[in-house]
């Protein structure tokens, strides 16, 4: 596996004369590692190191394919008072018929050129999409699963040069906090959707609770667990302060966010799955393939 190789930069390591002195630079003749760098996907690991990144690869890819497909459908995104989270908020009704009760601005605007299809899902999906794309958890996960940087810990990389998030383009991952602000607003919008999912009948004036209402509600709970565990939020509510205990309200907020943050990976996957499932549920009901159950 390893071939003996000479180490050209090997030189006696020059330790600073004064061990307590603060050094500004590293010594110039640093010896290189002796064991050669392992080639791409090579490792001495004997466990199934590829299984986790593979599961992440399949899970994330499946979600991207499904959500893109669902956004392109432009139909079957509402049923009774339910609205699919992939279409919420719905700015314009894409359909030609009567505008959806969820459409904030009613029917498709007349000035919109008819030959450009209006996809209301794409008008909004950039926000939750960008939030997840720049999320610290997902970054670490897809850098492994989709970019093999590295494919798994202690496994050889293909890339020779490396810019990481230090330089363009990934330096833009630092804008994660802006997506957080949108994500917080989406929690409000989706909570309103749960409320609207409690009104049935042709005029949406008959109170009730259906299985779909619960599906929408669970979606908000899981998305809240995910959003409130955000590292940027943790920083914002208190992490940036060193003297946090002097501000009890912020300390309490920081503790709560920390609780979610410790489960961030779990909530990331649960909420991702449930967003897809909520869309699927509404879609199946709307297509008449599933019958929604009225509980109340």
């Amino acid at each position: 596996m390893h071939s003996p190789s000479p180490n050209p930069r090997r030189a006696p390591f020059p330790m600073s004369a004064d061990p307590t002195a603060r050094a500004e630079t590293l010594p110039e003749t640093l010896p290189l590692p002796t064991v050669p760098r392992r080639p791409f996907l090579q490792t001495a690991r004997t466990d199934r190191w590829w299984s986790k990144p593979l599961v992440v690869f399949l899970g994330l890819s499946a979600f991207i394919v499904y959500s893109t497909w669902a956004a392109l459908q432009n139909a079957h995104f509402e049923f009774a008072g339910y609205l699919s989270p992939m279409y919420s908020p719905l700015f314009f009704d894409p359909g030609a018929g009567a505008p959806s009760p969820h459409a904030v601005f009613g029917a498709q605007p007349s000035w919109w050129p008819g030959w450009i299809p209006l996809y209301p899902a794409f008008l909004i999906l950039w926000a939750p999409g960008g939030f997840r794309f720049t999320c610290y958890y997902y970054r670490g996960a897809y850098y492994k699963s989709h970019w093999a940087s590295p494919a798994s810990c202690g496994v050889g990389k293909a890339q020779k040069g490396y810019r990481g998030e230090q330089r363009f383009p990934l330096i833009f991952q630092n804008l994660h906090r802006y997506f957080l602000y949108f994500a917080l607003a989406f929690l409000v919008v989706l909570s309103i959707d749960v409320y609207r999912g409690m009104w049935f009948g042709p005029n949406h004036d008959e109170f009730g609770i259906g299985l779909g209402t619960l599906v929408l509600a669970v979606n908000v709970v899981l998305l809240s667990g995910y959003t409130f565990g955000c590292h940027s939020l943790r920083h914002l509510v208190g992490g940036k302060l060193n003297l946090l205990a002097r501000r009890p309200a912020r300390l309490r907020a920081w503790n709560r966010v920390t609780w979610c943050n410790e489960r961030h990976q779990l909530f990331a996957w649960l909420s991702l799955f449930w967003v897809g499932f909520t869309d699927f549920y509404v879609r199946m009901c709307s297509m008449g393939l599933w019958a929604d159950v009225r509980i109340l």
Binding site: S16, A44, S149
Partner: protein, 252 residues
């Protein structure tokens, strides 16, 4: 007694190779015990560094079956013993001899990090009031035993050698910087260093360091990401800058 084969890397700074040693082991042995047994019975000149045998000195770091481990804390019954066990020195550093890596670059890196600088005392008698909740955050980082397993596994060091080029201080020293920077009595400003010279942006939060840390320090989530957020506050948040200019920004 059951038998096992250890493939141990033998060599020096110029290079080396794996050599196989067949030996007996008993239940309850750790990898370091087996290495010592081989050293005593078959390879008297095998170099291996160790000290406490209790996972507290951080000397016996090596790679067992490709995974950075403290040899003294890796029990034989956690390894698949139907095949041979590979033991090699840490890959991110030059080798002194056999399993002993030259980790001195880490001491040089540490010297570059700005030391603790106390803020003005809270009280006239020159003392500070500190709350446990504030101290706790940096206390986690004090558990570090400087085994450098995290430095070894981090791909920025291991595959790209940025720690040797002075571009990246590595997870151990982000832990150290976070310890200082989050200390409730510290007033030093390390953000410019962290952003530029220390290369916090090279960390792509893949968390390999957290996984290998024998002290279970939550390196990525509790040290590196909060530092990235502090750097983002100052350098990558135009909106915060605008708010600050118009007098709405928060203070540190």
């Amino acid at each position: 007694m059951p038998k096992t084969t250890f493939k141990i890397w033998r060599g020096d700074s110029k290079g080396g190779e794996f050599r196989a040693y067949e030996t007996e082991y008993s239940e309850g042995m750790v990898v370091l015990d087996v290495v010592h047994k081989i050293q005593a019975e078959q390879a008297n000149d095998l170099a291996v560094r160790w000290n406490c045998k209790a996972g507290k000195c951080g000397s016996c770091s090596a790679e067992v079956n490709g995974q950075p481990k403290l040899m003294c804390m890796t029990r034989m019954n956690t390894l698949p013993l139907d095949r041979s066990v590979t033991v090699e020195p840490m890959q991110a550093f030059p080798v002194e001899k056999d399993l002993v890596a030259d980790v001195s670059v880490n001491y040089e890196i540490k010297k570059r990090i700005k030391p603790f600088k106390p803020r003005p005392p809270d009280h006239d008698d020159g003392t500070w009031t500190m709350h446990q909740a504030d101290v706790e955050r940096s206390q986690e980082f004090r558990k570090c035993i400087e085994c450098f397993l995290c430095q070894d596994v981090c791909h920025v060091d291991r595959d790209h050698h940025y720690h040797l080029e002075g571009k990246f201080i590595g997870p151990r020293f982000f832990v150290h910087a976070a310890y200082l920077d989050m200390h409730p009595a510290d007033a030093e400003d390390r953000l410019a260093d962290l952003k530029e010279r220390d290369g916090v942006g090279y960390c792509n939060i893949t968390k390999c360091c957290t996984v290998v840390c024998p002290e279970h320090i939550t390196i990525t989530d509790n040290a590196i990401i909060p530092l990235k957020e502090r750097v983002a506050d100052r350098y990558y948040d135009p909106l915060a800058k605008v708010l600050k200019v118009i007098g709405l920004g928060g203070k540190k």
